[in-house]
Symmetry: C2
Subunit: 404 residues, 2 copies
């Protein structure tokens, strides 16, 4: 699926590349969009989202798996993007809060197309779920089973379990959802019998098992993926009325040069080997995988200056717009919005406009010469960028565009 | 200034403590406030803010320093809190973005009571500064000097310098504003002559030197404070027309039991020793020091459950409401809103309602038994809590209250 490309333009693809020397995404010139907006912009390539979704569905179908995809809305909740996904009609949506649920409804998702996978679920959250009887609920604690049962006897539910193994982007500890250290997510095997008992007592029917164990995994992590599914088997075996398995999301994309894309066929073969004969519907909850590489963030350079031996490139946005480089140490690839006319590269650090030392969008990277007034594009900004943005220093303003 | 207290209640003070068994701040019961709001609440004790400000001013006055305080708005921009500070009439405000500047104006600060200390300053930022000719501007790059000069010839400015030494809360690398590693902030000594030259060429008059070098420093860091001021001296010596020195903020408060409060007299004595005979006005930019310990965050417990050997206490807010524990590893002290009736303590981890593994507000802390429905207070939440909050997972709703 990657187009043939030189090292320099390994990120190029249909709908993203230089046209007549200008970085163009989905037919729109990145710098023109940012200039028109007069603010930082996130640009989302709708066709890329569709391709990512179709690729995932194709590979699940090829593996002979009956399947459903629920887009994990927390990756990006821009209403036009949600609306586009709804109108495509090829996926449902996974939500994790009442407001996300209501947003999904607002763009047209039916209750039955929505799964709710929350944590630390409050009575207020449950009250909203109660008013949406068709929504699929994944309970991740005995407490939530008990309290849901009180409000919604007879309801079908899924149980989020914790297989005690996990995966994270670049092995980032912050992103590990399950593993040796106890996490807040899911029901551990030691309490699973109690959870099933509790569900029965609460007049809830367990028809699904859910396990989301990490994010950003690529081909090298697939052996662990296989072990996680094996670890899930013993939970499955204890549930006679099961109709579906939700394997969470977490499929990664290459973030840095040299990262290999996830081998989707190998990924689905592992699912097929473990659960292919189970007659269970396989549900997947991709967030980043659908939207991350479909989005770019475009910022304008306002300052180019050496300080203390480092060449800093100052831009009109900061870590409050895209938190991943500063706090998760995930790299954002940076490109000039105008194709460089020489192969000259300089080592620079991209500094945001927030008064915090950690406000660096990229450190010590090679970039063609950059001038004040230029625009820079940050690739792979479609997921967990705008959705986690803050208004820190009152620098939180940006615009988003869905490019059909 | 700390009241005599047992180990258990070392945080108690006038206006914050249990009254008839209920945690009370500024005369308001914390749990009643949270219950009425029906949402996470930040409660700010106005009198504490005033006391923090007066304490700082008293110690500067005692040291014989002519001084001005500029509250660093980025710590907390809740409009009622800003309004309160303006009406007190004892400080100005430091801003770092056009929107902060306009917010300061909106609550009544005069232009001359506002200093602007930005970084990666854009043309749009400068356009706003141009429309506010009375605002004091600290330029932190040659680029911004040059561009400001083009717009505002004749204007008086300060230069933000980088003394190449820094301080951070608990030695946190993320929070170090200057030090061995080059940071984006300020003008290094190697470029200082060029900066002065550039200011002259741009028809700008340098009347201030600014250096903000870190945050959260306490008494053990004072020797470094002394060295930083010494390092600043050589910049001062090169500026004949100087009228003021802005030493930034960064004064810390105790965050964990055992932290000693900053010895303010020792702090001001260091300033006095270095600059007491300089005839320069000493400006200070405290943010956290004024507001952090004046604020508490109150959340409701919805889940108490052991998972994988850890007792998790789930609450109705997450790291998106207060980012410091998850990303800066700064501890938030946790208290039950009802006074415990026994000395029993259990080891718990407080888990937020965001679907991310790092969403823990406190890990492995001792707490009296907690029940679902209880309210917990998180101390020292008055700074960099609400101001950095995000709407991640659409869980960003909270209410703030200024308690007079």
């Amino acid at each position: 699926l990657n187009s043939a490309s030189s090292d320099l333009y390994h990120w190029e693809r249909e709908n993203l590349g230089y046209q007549a020397g200008v970085l163009t995404i989905a037919g729109q010139q990145a710098e023109v969009m940012a200039h028109s907006a007069g603010a930082p912009v996130f640009l989302y390539d709708a066709q890329r989202i569709r391709q990512n979704l179709e690729r995932l569905q194709a590979v699940l179908a090829q593996a002979g798996l009956s399947h459903s995809i629920y887009y994990a809305m927390k990756a990006n909740r821009f209403p036009p993007l949600l609306t586009y996904l709804r109108l495509l009609g090829r996926c449902g949506v996974d939500v994790c809060s009442p407001e996300e649920l209501l947003s999904a409804r607002q763009v047209g998702f039916a209750e039955t197309e929505i799964s709710y996978t929350g944590t630390s679920v409050s009575e207020e959250d449950l009250a909203v779920l109660q008013r949406h009887p068709g929504v699929i609920i994944h309970c991740d604690s005995l407490s939530s089973i008990r309290r849901l049962g009180r409000r919604c006897p007879g309801r079908r539910i899924g149980l989020r379990i914790n297989p005690e193994m996990g995966l994270g982007y670049r092995m980032n500890r912050l992103l590990q959802y399950a593993g040796r250290k106890a996490t807040k997510f899911g029901i551990y095997h030691g309490q699973f019998k109690a959870a099933l008992h509790c569900a029965r007592e609460s007049d809830l029917l367990v028809e699904g098992i859910h396990f989301h164990t990490g994010c950003g995994y690529l081909t090298p992590q697939l052996p662990l993926w296989s072990q996680i599914l094996e670890a899930g088997q013993r939970f499955v075996d204890e549930c006679p009325d099961l109709r579906y398995l939700n394997l969470g999301g977490g499929l990664g994309i290459p973030l840095a040069e040299g990262d290999e894309p996830l081998d989707l066929s190998a990924w689905s073969a592992i699912i097929s080997r473990q659960f292919g004969n189970s007659n269970l519907r396989i549900c997947i909850e991709p967030g980043d995988y659908l939207v991350k590489d479909a989005g770019i963030l475009v910022l304008q350079v306002n300052t180019v200056e050496e300080k203390g031996g480092t060449l800093f490139v100052g831009v009109n946005g900061g870590f409050n717009l895209h938190i991943e480089p500063a706090f998760y140490k995930l790299p954002l690839q940076v490109l000039p919005c105008r194709q460089p006319d020489s192969s000259l590269r300089r080592r620079v650090t991209i500094a945001g406009n927030i008064n915090e030392a950690c406000d660096l969008l990229a450190e010590n990277i090679l970039l063609p010469p950059v001038h004040e007034g230029d625009y820079l594009a940050f690739l792979n900004a479609g997921g967990y960028g705008s959705s986690m943005s803050s208004n820190h220093c009152l620098r939180g303003f940006f615009r988003e565009y869905l490019l059909p």
